[in-house]
């Protein structure tokens, strides 16, 4: 009976967690090789060649990676700085509650807010105009739908930084950093040395897997670049959906080829972590 319920549970898990991904991956793979779909005329590598030789795919991949890395660097810097500087305040009082509030913002709302704040006719532009720093809204820089993804980076930092503040404030206590700090001070370490040689390495090492997950999350984010980004370069999710929904049917197999590459990239990264740090998947051994 116990054995039966165990197998039923694992079957349910595989059915709802693994099978959808495998089905989607299989369909995308078949479509990208011309083996299914409206344009299907038998096996061909034409769409893969087009995808891999086209600069727009590589630009999209590079742009997504660049956004993810910039967002992570900014978010990690601010969250670590806040946790180290305001340690005591993060556990009690108004700050301990307020830090959680940004978690209530869905990506689409944050994207809408950022647009109303940073666009040429947005709040900051109006403020600067009223301060007399610009004479016309055209003088305000392009921060939305721009080539560098300024508004995308801004929105994602607003969403991610609070999460890392909470994570690091928990880790700060769980890893007994105050005790280590006191010990280092007793042994004569300077404040700067304690930060760079003890606190930051511990926090970064303990959150390495979460950081990697967030890099993947950001690379696949959709709503924010959809509202705040431009078509070229576009982030991966937007790139795929645009190709799928275009009127040109010949673009669909290419969209699926990019989706296959994206899924393989994620599966490979997770598999690498599984091989090198299996404890991440088993908290009891972590």
């Amino acid at each position: 009976m116990k054995l039966k319920s165990k197998y039923i549970s694992i079957t349910i898990f595989i059915l709802f967690a693994a099978v959808p991904v495998l089905l989607g991956f299989g369909y995308a793979l078949l479509y990208s090789f011309g083996l299914t779909g409206i344009l299907s005329e038998g096996f061909t590598t034409e769409y893969w060649e087009k995808t891999l030789l086209a600069t727009e795919f590589w630009k999209s991949l590079g742009f997504s990676l660049m956004i993810a890395l910039v967002v992570m660097i900014i978010s990690l810097f601010f969250s670590i700085w806040i946790v180290i500087s305001w340690t005591k305040n993060l556990y009690k009082g108004l700050l301990s509650y307020v830090t959680y509030l940004p978690l209530a913002f869905p990506s689409i709302v944050m994207a809408f807010f950022s647009f109303q704040l940073l666009s040429k006719s947005g709040f900051i532009s109006r403020l600067i105009f009223n301060l007399g720093w610009i004479d016309d809204l055209t003088q305000f820089p392009d921060w939305t739908n721009d080539a560098y993804g300024v508004a995308i980076i801004f929105s994602l930092c607003l969403l991610i930084t609070p999460f890392f503040i909470i994570l690091y404030s928990n880790l700060y206590q769980n890893e007994r950093i105050p005790e280590l700090k006191a010990l280092a001070q007793t042994l004569g370490a300077k404040k700067n040395q304690i930060t760079t040689k003890i606190i930051v390495p511990i926090l970064l090492k303990k959150s390495a897997f979460t950081i990697m997950l967030f890099v993947i999350f950001v690379m696949g984010t959709y709503e924010i670049p959809l509202l705040l980004g431009r078509q070229d370069p576009s982030m991966l999710s937007v790139f795929i959906i645009q190709k799928l929904q275009k009127f040109n049917l010949a673009d669909i197999p290419q969209a699926y080829a990019v989706a296959v590459i994206y899924i393989l990239l994620i599966a490979t990264l997770i598999a690498v972590v599984y091989k090198t740090r299996p404890a991440f998947f088993n908290p009891e051994k972590n």
């Binding site: 898990f13 108004l94 509650y97 809408f112 928990n170 795929i240 598999a271 998947f281």
Partner: protein, 255 residues
């Protein structure tokens, strides 16, 4: 200096909420006015109008999210136990992490054909199933931490003392898992409540959740209604996060 920075930080967190609230009350906002020219509750009255369907949208989103969170939590609670106690725990968790980190909209794009084939594309049941595909692995990841040696030892002790399976489940496991279950429910509720890309693609625009409506209003350049729908979107998560923070985060840690 430290105090001033903290006040600035607190103000920067409240600013988006206040900004959206003011916009939701606005009517006319010509450049370079800092605030809308007229502020009234007129937009909020739009909620009550039957043709606006915004209130229906709110309850539809709420219904979908509660259903997804309830089913996910119940199923993840049962299945995560067997996964956590399995000798293949790490391999199975590896399978859970792939859909968890995969962009939901890309998963939806690759699965859309099957939803059309099954006749559930463009309706609520399709959206429910699609959201379940991303919420369930997340639920398993959250509850996987709960099934540790300590829980196993308590369960075995209960059986040793003569409890039946049902008694152990009802009187021992459920009470000690209350926080983990609530955390799982809240987190998966938020996954569903925040979802846009997957819902829009599988729902083909016919299933109008609040996130889909915000996007429609933004596309129509109706910033005041978009702000109103945004306020409705952030309200339930704020209540949940407050409950979470007050009663759960103190004892549980999210990944």
């Amino acid at each position: 200096m430290k105090k001033a920075l903290q006040i600035l930080f607190i103000l920067s967190i409240f600013f988006p909420i206040a900004f959206l609230l003011v916009l939701s009350l606005g009517r006319n906002w010509p450049y370079p006015e800092l605030l809308p020219q007229s502020l009234s509750l007129e937009n909020w009255e739009f909620l009550q109008k039957s043709d606006s369907k915004l209130l229906q949208t709110f309850f539809l989103s709420l219904g979908i999210s509660i259903l997804v969170a309830t089913v996910t939590t119940a199923l993840a609670f049962i299945t995560s136990k067997h996964i956590a106690l399995s000798k293949y725990r790490n391999k199975l968790m590896l399978l859970a992490y792939i859909p968890y980190v995969l962009s939901p909209v890309i998963l939806a794009a690759t699965l859309h054909f099957f939803f059309i084939y099954a006749g559930i594309s463009g309706n609520v049941s399709g959206v429910l199933l699609a959201q379940f595909f991303i919420a369930y692995p997340f639920g398993v990841i959250i509850l996987n931490n709960f099934w540790n040696h300590k829980t196993k030892a308590i369960e075995e002790l209960s059986r040793t003392l003569g409890s039946s399976n049902w008694q152990t489940f009802k009187n021992v496991l459920l009470p000690i898992s209350k926080n983990a279950l609530l955390l799982c429910f809240f987190q998966t509720f938020l996954v569903s409540w925040f979802e846009f890309g997957l819902t829009n693609l599988i729902g083909v625009g016919s299933v109008q959740t609040l996130t889909v409506r915000v996007f429609s209003f933004v596309n129509e350049a109706n910033i005041f209604y978009a702000a109103l729908a945004s306020c409705l979107l952030i309200l339930p998560p704020m209540i949940l996060i407050w409950i979470n923070k007050r009663y759960i985060f103190a004892t549980e840690t999210v990944i």
